[in-house]
Symmetry: C2
Subunit: 241 residues, 2 copies
């Protein structure tokens, strides 16, 4: 029999707020640098993004890598004039990001509960293992999920491995998330289904993707309350064959 | 039927050298600090360990957390006199630790191959997800393992979750590793079996454990070549009931 057997949920900015805290960290970072450089002269955010991207292949995603990249970018941007005291402030910005409160998005608990009642559900989230596990624990949603996978990259090979471990074909899997790059495109590429729930903020790195928006196996919703209906629509399309 | 159904292997200092690189990083860290403080006056290693332990609950294990702790410890130990240039050197020490070459321990490939021929085997390793995955890929051993689990802490609840996902009772599981604290004690506590293969170096944090050495379900080996025989001995004990 066909139908969707497993439904995946992204974590950051799908279940709980995340990007807001990273944006706040960037503003704090600029505030520290303001004592050394004219923020109007240099595009500090762009420089930081460049350092973060160059470091991704060594640090991976997550707040610890971001903090190390901030320290490095601050030293570069100030020509090594920044004081140890201010570098310590940057480390504290990173620590605060790792400890931000976990606030669920509107209606997400009800949506996860509704979908868990009809499907097996798996949380697939990317970033620092330790930080993600802390957020999952604080979210209060952990017990609703039948499986939890923290991954270092959300690309087709990673999703293929997870689906293999779940014992499901891509055709029987739907992924819900805010990032077209990480949550939707790789799943569509494998032959699965995607439900895109945009978040108002998207990290520049995540905003780059190769989708053109008229994908036959992707639906878009505006809020968590619409998720169960989106899944029902996918099931209806599958039933029509 | 009884017997060992799954065998777990630790990664760092069980499959490949690791602690050597962390020790080298600590020596480099001291070299940087030597320009600011009399190393004879302050126990820098002890101070660093204190900072690392205090940060474990926010950063978790791994080289990125160590690097952030080194930056913090350096600022504290120098009363914030350390230059941005030297803080950058510390970040570079962390980057080098994240990129150290993966050298397998003597005889480990043959031992893993021998055990994989008779048992399902799982790699259970702790630390930065991204760094561990990079090391696993470079080790050339990934294809030998039937499952790979990177975990944030090696305690009884974590092993219980992994065994549940593998579908094996603790009595049918044996864990091979160098750390009594992380690889052996929690598995024995669950009712499983342990094969301790000591490594010449152990991080002070890992050296603390509550075992007294005469555990009935633990064997010790001196080298990887002895691992298959140790497993055979466990199987013989299980068969005797």
């Amino acid at each position: 029999m066909g139908g969707i057997r497993w439904v995946g949920f992204d974590g950051d900015d799908t279940l709980w707020r995340s990007e807001d805290y990273y944006r706040a960290a960037e503003r704090e970072f600029e505030r520290v640098l303001g004592a050394y450089i004219d923020l109007g002269d240099r595009d500090t955010q762009r420089h930081l993004l460049g350092v973060e991207r160059r470091n991704l292949r060594v640090f991976g995603y997550g707040a610890k890598g971001m903090t190390l990249s901030m320290v490095e970018a601050a030293i570069e941007l100030t020509d090594a004039r920044i004081s140890a005291h201010d570098i310590h402030r940057i480390v504290e910005i990173g620590r605060a990001t790792l400890q931000h409160p976990v606030e669920l998005l509107d209606g997400i608990r009800a949506a996860v509960e509704a979908i868990a009642a009809t499907h097996e559900i798996v949380l697939i989230t990317k970033g620092d293992l330790f930080h993600q596990e802390a957020k999952i624990a604080q979210s209060g949603l952990a017990d609703l999920f039948h499986r939890i996978e923290v991954v270092s990259e959300k690309d087709p090979p990673t999703y293929a491995r997870v689906l293999r471990e779940l014992g499901v074909d891509a055709d029987g899997f739907a992924m819900i998330g805010n990032s077209l790059r990480s949550d939707i495109a790789p799943v569509l590429e494998l032959g699965g289904w995607g439900v895109h729930m945009p978040y108002p903020l998207t990290w520049a790195h995540e905003a780059e993707h190769a989708l053109n928006g008229d994908e036959a196996r992707m639906l878009a919703v505006e809020s968590a309350a619409q998720l169960p209906a989106a899944l029902a629509e996918i099931e209806a399309r599958l039933a029509r064959g």
